[in-house]
């Protein structure tokens, strides 16, 4: 179920480009909405992701397929935590950039070292943009969903 949160974010972005992904994003939203209201997810999106992923892996790496199938729930949690941790640090960097004019205040450069500084600044700005788009898409689907439910 927890993978639906990541799916919502990912497919919302992809949904900008194709109707097909938009449908999946809607399902993910439904799942997240149900989770948030303490009801079980009924879209079975997580099950489909798990099974399709396993089937695809089975063709190339059966051991990995078995591992994915058995520990999908744990993997989903790890993936989701890593995903949001990355998002958080990116947002933190953006915040610093906006407030202090640098991704890493205290550091003489914006990024990890001098050479990377320009790139990492650009990266954070791109992430900032993506988050903004995601937020808009999320609001859009949320609005459409709630209208639909009425």
């Amino acid at each position: 179920m927890v993978i639906c949160i990541v799916a919502l974010v990912v497919f919302s972005v992809l949904g900008i480009f194709s109707m097909r992904w938009r449908e999946i994003a809607k399902e993910a939203f439904d799942c997240v909405y149900r989770m948030a209201t303490f009801r079980p997810c009924i879209t079975k999106l997580d099950q489909r992701i798990k099974s399709r992923l396993t089937a695809k892996l089975m063709k190339r790496a059966p051991a990995l397929a078995r591992f994915t199938y058995r520990y999908f729930k744990a993997l989903s949690w790890i993936f989701t935590i890593v995903f949001f941790a990355t998002m958080f640090y990116s947002a933190y960097g953006i915040y610093n950039l906006v407030v202090y004019g640098s991704c890493e205040p205290g550091s003489p450069t914006c990024g990890i070292d001098q050479a990377m500084s320009v790139i990492s600044c650009y990266e954070t700005q791109i992430v900032y943009g993506i988050i903004l788009v995601l937020f808009i898409v999320f609001l859009y689907f949320g609005y459409r969903y709630l209208k639909f439910k009425e």
Partner: protein, 401 residues
């Protein structure tokens, strides 16, 4: 002998896609002949049957009634008026449930093997207090015993509603014996023929069957059309629960004179294209020969079941003896959820069904609360497809099981 490879040429979807379609119990693919018959109606003579007198209407009436004759002949009904068009099997059973003149205290006997369509209409009548409902329970393999019917059918039993061929176990009910016992006790028999009529010859007169419902879409025909077969005098006894256009001869403000059967049971404009498509489907099957279909499907069943028994950790639902089954098998693989397995097979272009297959009580009865995976074959499936299917299952079972 039936040449499946050649017949597949008639099915645009099978010709053009690589899918291995093993979900025929849900619905079958449609041959060009059926699609053409429907298109012909819509493009050459679309009109109402029975009402108007112009040439188009006359042609529609002719084709519509011809289709009825074909379906009647297909199951060896005495007269075409013994065929009432319905949407599907579900509606056929509901038509009997809602139109049969039950009296208080009448008992309906059914089984725990039924599809929801053959169970819920009776449940509702029982809840309303119209009938009392009793059950014959099958064994864990899904087989019904004649002795149980002998025990349960009594003078209060008005109707025995029984699945002809199971959509979960693939077993065929001993209908002839059930009918004999029922008739000896003054009860009538309604058969759910959804998985029977498409797969082997059904002779309602030989069986002395009273009612039977079946759907066109499970026998290469279009969706949205099916029929209820009923003996002429029994159909006349039914009290129509849908009234309106076509069901009456005459009416004034407070009364009406009903039409003769079957029209009195077919309210409103009918699914002409569907019925004509059903007729074309019956023509198609008749041309192949139902006995040929049955024999070929037995070969498929043998290969399928023998193959499945080699798959590690696979638990077959129903008998393991292919002679006792249609080419329809439900199963589970230990450690893999049925839905997961179906999705994985779909990733490999194999279409099967997973879940309860509308047979909740039976799945609960055998302790398969999450349902099962079902592979249901038809005459256009090939031995090669079975081979690929079994290999895929083995691969999945070995990797994940």
């Amino acid at each position: 002998m039936l040449d499946a490879e050649k017949l597949r040429e008639d099915f645009p979807l099978l010709r053009e896609s690589k899918v291995i379609y093993f979900d025929n119990a849900c619905t079958t693919q449609k041959p060009k002949q059926v699609v053409d018959a429907i298109v012909e109606y819509y493009t050459k003579y679309a009109a109402c049957a029975g009402r108007s007198l112009h040439k188009l209407a006359t042609k529609t009436t002719e084709e519509f009634e011809k289709a009825r004759e074909k379906v009647a002949k297909f199951i060896n009904a005495k007269k075409s008026k013994e065929i009432v068009w319905t949407k599907n099997t579900t509606e056929a059973i509901n038509l009997v449930a809602n139109s049969f003149k039950f009296e208080k205290g009448d008992k309906v006997l059914t089984t725990n093997l039924e599809h929801s369509s053959g169970l819920l209409p009776w449940q509702r009548l029982a809840k309303k207090g119209v009938i009392s409902l009793d059950f014959v329970l099958c064994n864990k393999e899904g087989e019904l015993s004649i002795e149980d019917f002998e025990d349960k059918i009594d003078e209060k039993t008005k109707l025995v509603s029984v699945i002809f061929a199971s959509n979960v176990t693939g077993t065929v009910s001993p209908l002839k014996e059930i009918i004999k016992i029922a008739h000896e006790n003054g009860a009538l028999v309604l058969a759910d023929g959804a998985q029977a009529a498409p797969h082997f010859p059904v002779d309602v007169r030989k069986l002395d069957l009273d009612f039977m419902g079946f759907s066109a879409h499970k026998m290469v025909g279009p969706t949205g059309i099916g029929c209820l077969y009923g003996k002429e005098d029994l159909l006349r006894e039914l009290s129509p629960f849908i009234l309106g256009g076509e069901t009456i001869k005459d009416a004034d403000l407070r009364s009406y004179e009903p039409e003769d059967i079957p029209h009195r049971l077919e309210g409103g404009i009918q699914n002409y294209a569907g019925a004509i498509g059903f007729g074309a489907a019956v023509d198609y099957l008749t041309k192949i020969g139902m006995k040929n279909i049955e024999d070929y499907e037995k070969e498929l069943a043998k290969l399928l079941i023998e193959g499945l028994l080699e798959v590690p950790n696979l638990a077959l639902i129903g008998p393991k003896d292919w002679r006792k089954k249609n080419a329809l098998v439900s199963f589970n693989i230990k450690g893999i959820e049925p839905q997961d397995l179906a999705i994985m097979l779909d990733e490999n272009n194999i279409a099967v069904r997973s879940g309860m297959h509308c047979a909740y009580p039976f799945h609960k009865f055998i302790g398969e609360n999450k349902g099962s995976v079902r592979a249901s074959l038809y005459f256009y499936n090939t031995k090669e497809e079975i081979g690929i299917f079994i290999e895929k299952l083995k691969e999945i079972a070995k990797t994940l099981g």
